[in-house]
Each structure stands twice: as C-alpha cells, then as structure tokens.
Amino acid sequence: MTTDLGFWVLQTLNALQLSMLLFLLSVGLTVIFGLMHFVNPAHGSLYAFGAYMAASLAGVLGYWGGFFLVPLAVAALGAVLYFTLIRSQRRAGPMAQVLVTFGLIFVAVDATRLIWGDLPIGIAIPAMFEGQLPLLGVEYPIYRLFIIALGLVVLAALTLVLTRTQIGAMIRAGVDNDQMAACLGINVERMFFLVFVVGCALAGLAGAVAAPVLSVTPDMGLQILIPTLIVIVIGGLGSLKGAVAGSLIFGFVQTFGAVLLPTLNSVLIYALLAAVLVIRPEGLLPAKG
C-alpha cells in the first residue's frame, strides 16, 4: 500500500483539502485575535450557519446562489454580533470574551436545531464539479480539487492585500502595536470591524463549500472548533503564515495519521499540540517576532 505512488497522491490531496478548509476558518480567527486580542469560539457557529444557509439556498437559487450570498449573509450576522456583543466586550478581558462567546455557541446550536431541525442535511455537488478527474494515476473528485483551489486563491488574495496594499499595511501595524497605530492616525476601531466582518465572511464561505462534502448537522460548529483552535495555536496566534502552517500540519498529520497509524491517530494531533506548547509556547510562527 505504502509503496504505491497513487496512495501518496490520493492522501496528499485529501490532506490538502482538509488543510484548505481549516485555513479558511482559522485565518479569520487568527487575524481577529492578532488585531483585537479577542478569541472568538463562536467562529465555528458562524461556519455552521454558513453551511445551513447554503443548504437552504441551494434549493432556491442553486449552489452558486448560496456560494456568493452566504458569505455576505454571515458577514451581516457578524456585523450584528459586533455591535451587540463584541464591541462592548473588547476591553473586558479574555475570560469574559470566551464566556460570552461560549454562551453564543449554546444559543447558536439550539437556534440551528430550531430552524433546521436535528437531522443531518445533505446538499448536492454543483453540476460543473461532478465526477472525477484523473491525476497522476488516481481518480480524484473534482469538487475536492475545487476546495483546494479556492483555499489557494483566498490565501493568495489575503497575502496580496496584507503585504501590498495600504489597508494591509495598516492591519499589520495594528497587529504589531495597536496603540502606536492609533497614534499614527489609523482608525483602529474601524479596522477591527472590517477584519472581524471579513473573518466572518470567510467562515461562512468555508461552511458553504464544506456543506456538499460533509453532512450538515447542528453540532458541526462545535466539531470544527477544536481543530481550528489547534491550528491557530500551533501556527501562532495572529499570524497569516502561522494559519497556513498550522492548517497544513493539522491536515497532513490527521490524514496520514488515520491511514498509517490508525490506533494512535486521535492522540497524535493532541500530542503534537502539547509538544508545540511546551517547546514553543507562542506557536511556530508567531505574529510578533
């Protein structure tokens, strides 16, 4: 099995697909933390909302209607959350923030159960991505390749914005030292809002693209939360590079662990997390050098 090239190609693609999904989720969370020092465990709930909305919209507008509308809708939801809860908790300390968002998770899980019911919902893969593509000797589902491509596109776009534009420079300045950035005339508060909403939109997008490959259930937000947090802690809170590295490490360890060391698999990633926290408590690629 392990000497066959096809096996390695297949598992590498699987790992990449998982990594890219996690990247879409973790990048928003990590940049929000870097800028606002705000950990938002309810990020996973926004992802679940995205998946449910995509499932509902798929029946009305088709897959692509959901694909484009869901991020906007989740961003709007994020904006509502920002003005009702997040802004007033900005200076309340990490403990209060974690707890308020904990409460939000409870509410969100039951809200999805109330609106969409307890049963898993499935949605169809869009017609243009149906079927398999022969690739280096293996047949791989086109839709999963699309997820990998989408992750790479988002990564490229974010890298470009963060390193080549003025707003990107302002965000980096804010992550580095928000008080100094404010003194230099940057409206840090407005930037927080922008980053928060974009992070929410990316979580919604992740939900929308994950919906056809995973079954959509009320606890999907909780299930993805732990992997996402592991990714950003391994990578280093607040850094884009860290989110990329963390997603790739998680995706590959999880995927190859499942096929090569099935008995140790679930312990493996937590052992890795513990090792990173002991050796490099700030994560592998922290935002601040």
């Binding site: 950990v39 809860l85 007033s88 908790q89 309340a92 990490p94 403990m95 209060a96 974690v98 707890l99 308020v100 904990f102 409460g103 939000l104 998770i105 409870f106 509410v107 899980v109 039951d110 809200a111 159960r113 109330l114 909780l222 732990i226 947090l229 592991i230 802690v233 809170l237 008995t263 679930s266 312990v267 937590y270 052992a271 997390l273 513990a274 926290l277 002991v278 408590p281 700030e282």
Partner: protein, 326 residues
Amino acid sequence: MFTHTPLRLTTLATLAIGALAYAFVAGFFGLEILAEIAILAILVIALDLVAGFGGMLSLCHGALLGVGAYAFTVAAKDAGLSAFPAMVLAVALSAALAFVIGAVCARSIGIYFIMATLAFGQMAYSFVFQSPLFGGDDGLSGAPRPDLTAIGIDLTDSRAFAIYAIALVALTYLVAASTLRSGLGRSLVGLHHNEKRLRALGLTVWRAKATAFAISGALAGLAGCLAAQHTQYISPGLLSWTVSGEALVVVILGGLGTLAGPIVGAILFVVLKHEISAITPYWHAIVGLILIAVVMSRANGVFGYVEARMAARAAKPTLEKAKADA
C-alpha cells in the same frame, strides 16, 4: 486571599441544612437530582480552586473527572478491589495526571494555558475512546457503590446515597478551603496577582502550580468516582471538553473565586436544566442567554453579585461616618 466572611459561612450553613433536610423529604426523582448536584458541586469546587484563585482556567477537568470514573470502575470491577481502596486509587491517579499536566502547562498563561489543558483533556478522551480496554463508545457498566452495611447504611438506597454525596461535597469543600488557607494556597493567589514577584521571593513556581493543580485534580477524580457510583454506568462522554466547558460556565454563573458561589451555581444549573428541559428541548439556548447576561452585567456571578452588594451596603455607613467626622 481566601477568607470565610459571615455571608459565606451563612450561605454554606444554609445550603448544608437545606440539602440535608431536602434529602430526608424528597422523592426518588428529587434524590437523583440532589446526587447530580453534589457531583457537579465537587467538580466546580475543584475547578474554582485553580481557576478562581490561581487564574488557571482549565479545560481538562472533565477529563480528570472521567479518568477518576474509569479508574474507579476498572479497579473495582475488573481488579476486584473493594470500593474504598478503588476510590483512593482513582483519586490518586487523577491527582498524578493533574500534577503532570500542571507541571507541563506551568509556563503557559492566558489563552495558551486554556489550549494546553484542552489538548491534554482531549488526549485523555481520545485514549479512553479508542482503547479496547475501556469499552470504547459503549462505555462500562457495573461500578459498585461502597458497602457501608457494617455501620447500618445501605448505599443502594437513593436517600442514603444522596446523603453520602452531600457528605463528600462537605469533605471537598473542607479540602479546598484548607488548601487555600495553607501556604500553598497563599502562594497560588500570589502567583495569580504577580508571578514575577513570587519568583523573586524564591518560590518554585512550577511546583506550586502543579501541586495546586494536583489537589484540584484529586477532587475532580473524587467527583468522577461519585458519578460512576451514581449512575453505575460510564461513557467516554464524561471526559469530553464540553463537560469542562460546562463546569466553567457553572463556576462563572455562581461566582468565580468565592468557593461557595460555584456550589450555588451548581444548584441553579442542575435545577434550571431540569426545569427548562421539561418545557422545551432547547434548554442550552436559555442557559446560553443567561450566561451572556451574567457576563455582560459585569457581576461576578450570582453569589459574587450578592457579595458585592452586601459589601457596598456595609461600606456606606462607614463612608458617611467618615464624611461626618471630617
């Protein structure tokens, strides 16, 4: 530093008398709820010890409870120990595990500490879930209750069991309170305030943190033994991080760092859970809204709020007197 204010002592006495009185009059369902409250109360006292006083917000206390429950069941059922030695063994194992976790995580602070404890908790969860020794997803059944028939108490009776559970809560409280009043407890509070200062004073920081965490872990393991004896069935779900999260919520609802507050929180939480889930299956949403309201109000939980109001009322006359004197 931890002190027993008159309000705390009155609350504790009222709770103890109320719980005992209820144990004598309640029916079967009431007694089951009482035992459930007692198990949660032990867990949240353990958590408040490290989270409220040492600032160590742990997300692995569910796992420590679960380890206690599994160790007790395996020791009593498969190894054939009688119940009390099995409990001692289970508590010791939880304490040892907690000591290691506390020692390894001693350098991490804030969100990193939360994540590190989460990682260890999930590691224990995955291990129990996947290991063929522990019945996997099906869990284990048949944990015995201690045999006290020699002194005329039959713990298979739910009334006797509820009183036994209340006694264990009292024991837990005494252990936690005396830990906090010892040198270790004072160091723990000092570490929470200013770690550098205590390091400069010559304290071995990691050892103090790990020891406090071990005591807390032992108490969580005790809660696990009680949980195993109560339902006589255990599943990996006991070790899940959501149990730890819920315990943290209860500590906050009651009042962080008050020791008596979390007990009030445990009562409120279990009663609310049963009352609301009788009306609607969406009780988590209600608890979530209450949690948001409590945190947004900036009060330190229900008990913390009462404490702050009483302190303000007590301070007012002296302030006015001071003004009049001036």
